[in-house]
Subunit: 484 residues, 2 copies
């Protein structure tokens, strides 16, 4: 791997021949902008290239492969674990100019898009037909579909509708050597050959660059209602979640938030909630209003039967949106509480078996506190076991402590709960350190698969622990808080 910085002028010339001068940049300010994503890592690329079509991508990869230069495919840069920046220099391949919706095929329940299409823009177009692509991540307004596929993104609706992986029917991919392959099929169902499609989904740019994505779409649910219920104890909230699921109702969202989060939501609600150890937000949705309401009635009763301190059901679509906006404001508000940036740490996205969420919420807080966690918030998609942890750690000053906290959390989640260190954000740079712990010998085989598609290791090196495994959750510290 070439690790010395190549001459910027030569880089500019080489890539200009492929994409034209306007779509290459070695400008310092621009390189700085691309040195960040939504994580707390930083790493400056040598150049940024913005291809417009598959053939340009083929030529870019051939060039990079010949010179063993690292390449990082990047969408909107909303990744939370450092997937969208280069660890030790290299080329950022910004795919946002490839943003065409090539085909909306309602009859086949399929769309074909280029990777740079913004998620919310795609759903805007689909809404005209009453359809949607459901796996709405938190960054829905800006993230690209290519980035979602690369990271197997999802959000609160995954409990009912599934994650990005469940919607990708096929891909066109350019590999490191310039080979173009197609995976999957236009048939919704296929059992033909190895499932390369899902091997690429969630591969974080380490196997190739997507140039076309075939997605399954669904009719939009027409009606929805949400409820917030406050409980004295997280165990009561956990019981409610189990009973709702066992009743056969699949909520379109089931969120568990701790007391800190409930308090943080209050300013955004028309009337503040009382506080208890935990609150639940449960949504039902569907194509028939009667069913949605009947299911919500059942859910409400389960909450009341389990000693909810307060149960608030949205009266209309406006109140429903208000309640969700309050939930979305949690991170920002908590930042304000401490008066400084709340670092999304390498353990921010754990997953445990669903019945273990209440227990895990309590235990993880405890072990983290013992390890010296200064302030911690937790909330979880209790319907699918995804527990989010926000740690207020400044990596520049508290790196060692941060790593210690991260390790006890990771060890508890993996060894005790047989869970995962990342349920929806991806491993990126932040969790590369824990990949051996989670995957054991399987990681060796992941590395060999990487070798099949990218023998020189040029595709997004550093993420997922596929190369050298770092010994910290901050292999690439942000400059703004001090380098290493």
């Amino acid at each position: 791997m070439a690790s010395e910085t190549p001459d910027p002028k030569l880089l500019f010339e080489s890539f200009s021949k492929i994409v034209g001068e306007n779509d290459v940049s070695v400008d310092e300010a621009e390189l700085f902008a691309y040195s960040l994503d939504a994580s707390n890592h930083q790493g400056e690329p040598w150049a940024v290239v913005r291809p417009e079509n598959r053939n340009e991508i083929v030529d870019i990869l051939k060039l990079c492969n010949a010179r063993a230069m690292p390449v990082n495919p990047r969408g909107a840069g909303t990744s939370l674990a450092g997937q969208a920046l280069t660890l030790n220099g290299g080329i950022i391949l910004d795919i946002r100019k490839m943003n065409k919706i090539k085909e909306i095929n309602i009859g086949d329940r399929e769309v074909i898009v280029e990777p740079g299409v913004v998620y919310s823009k795609l759903n805007e177009e689909l809404a005209k037909y009453g359809y949607c692509f459901p796996p709405e991540p938190g960054s829905a307004m800006s993230c690209t579909v290519g980035g979602m596929v690369g990271n197997n993104a999802s959000g609160i609706r995954a409990v009912k509708y599934g994650v990005t992986r469940d919607f990708v029917l096929g891909l066109e991919v350019v590999l490191a050597n310039g080979d173009v392959i197609r995976t999957g099929s236009r048939s919704i169902k296929t059992s033909s050959g190895y499932d390369l499609t899902r091997l690429f989904v969630g591969s974080e740019g380490t196997l190739g660059v997507f140039t076309e994505i075939i997605l399954k779409i669904l009719p939009m649910p027409k009606y929805a209602q949400v409820l917030i219920a406050v409980f004295k104890s997280v165990v009561d909230a956990g019981k409610v979640a189990s009973q709702v699921i066992n009743s056969g109702i699949t909520p379109s969202a089931m969120e568990l938030v701790d007391q800190f989060c409930t308090a943080a939501m209050n300013p955004a609600l028309s009337k503040p909630l009382p506080l208890g150890e935990a609150s639940l937000m449960i949504e039902t949705d569907g194509t028939m209003n009667e069913t949605v309401k009947a299911e919500m009635e059942k859910v409400k009763k389960v909450c009341e039967d389990n000693g909810a301190v307060e149960v608030r059901v949205s009266k209309d679509p406006e109140e429903r949106l208000q309640m969700w906006r309050a939930r979305d404001s949690v991170y920002t508000r908590l930042t304000q509480l401490r008066g400084e940036s709340l670092v999304i740490h390498g353990v921010s996205d754990t997953g445990v078996p669903i019945s273990k969420v209440p227990e895990a919420l309590r235990e993880l807080k405890e072990v983290a506190k013992k390890a010296g966690a200064p302030l911690m918030i937790m909330f979880g998609h209790i319907g699918d076991g995804n527990v989010h942890i926000g740690l207020s750690v400044d990596p520049a000053k508290e790196l060692e402590k941060g790593d210690k906290i991260a390790r006890v959390i990771a060890e508890t989640v993996i060894n005790k709960y047989k869970g995962t260190i990342t349920a929806e954000h991806g491993a990126g740079l932040s969790k590369a350190v824990f990949m051996p712990l989670e995957h054991g010998k399987a990681l060796e085989y992941m590395r060999k698969i990487k070798g099949v598609f990218d023998p020189k290791g040029i595709m997004n090196p550093g993420v997922m622990g596929l190369g050298d495994v770092p010994n910290t959750t901050f292999p690439s510290l942000p400059k703004k808080v001090g380098g290493r």
Copy 2:
């Protein structure tokens, strides 16, 4: 690859040391029994071995790998494309003694099973808790869960509940060299590392042997109703299917059958149906009876509005079962019609985009007829684009013609409809010939992935076109109809 038959006595001795004398067989009658599966292929193994646990499997694979002897993991042998028999000798690894249900965890919506558990047996146990593992294939009564995972099996309920792939959360796998790896997580949701789980799902025994399977389970739908509607034209039936789907209703089954099939169903129904070019069977199900009925009313109206000749809705659970039994009897009845074995050919399981099913049904019949197809029936899971074709071809007498018909069908499905040659049965031996056509350059990368897990190529060689691609849909002719 060792292709000469090893001395049976030596084989018996070697494997006896691992699994004991009772669980090895080189007996001629037994080898003959294992030379068949539910396909029309045949291939005799050198020996049959029946391990009881993971450690025995590790030792068996190490031994086979050292001697480069082919190994074929086999469940109930219900595969329809020759996945469960050995093409050129080798060892059948019968996993049916590993049939424990290790954990039923309703709170986590998970079960952990050994691969030899029979599907219907698992669902019997789950039914006690009101839960189920939904992807019911046609062979539900006898197939093993390991076989289902190996072939990504599914059936008529896939349109609503998904295929086996959608339910596998994690695997323990023994690789060719004896390495044991674990994939996936007990967390329902994970985005950690490459998705090895889904790489193994549908790999047809070519990558390793499953020793433990973690499955997601769902609450059983409590109510269901089915309807049969007969249409003058297949195009009308297609319109109904589209309109039902676009209304936001997701039927739990939506089957399109041709006139031959409708006629074949009639003897099993209490009152015969009139005949038209095509009939639809549509089922709604759910946890609330009112919703199921309301949706069925809507479906009925759509049928009537599109000129259905007759619409019959099941009055009670008994009639519903009777109607489904009639549908299941189609294959057997058609065999009786022609008075000889109806061969499931290499094009029996095509998949096309869902809106193209009516058009494909007509066109495939036409091109096949032109190529000389003697008698053909077609039925499809129109909700997910899966079109099943039954061809009455005797491979011993009509091999060339059979291959010609298969090729025109495969070419139409893949080139014109961008579909798949196998939507739910798997490629096996029957469709290995068409893998280059369907996958192009991606097949090269599938072969390289095979090389990562099985460098000596001992795991189920011959299937999926991963080695030498045969030039016929019958690379392994059944002895009973004449060898080659």
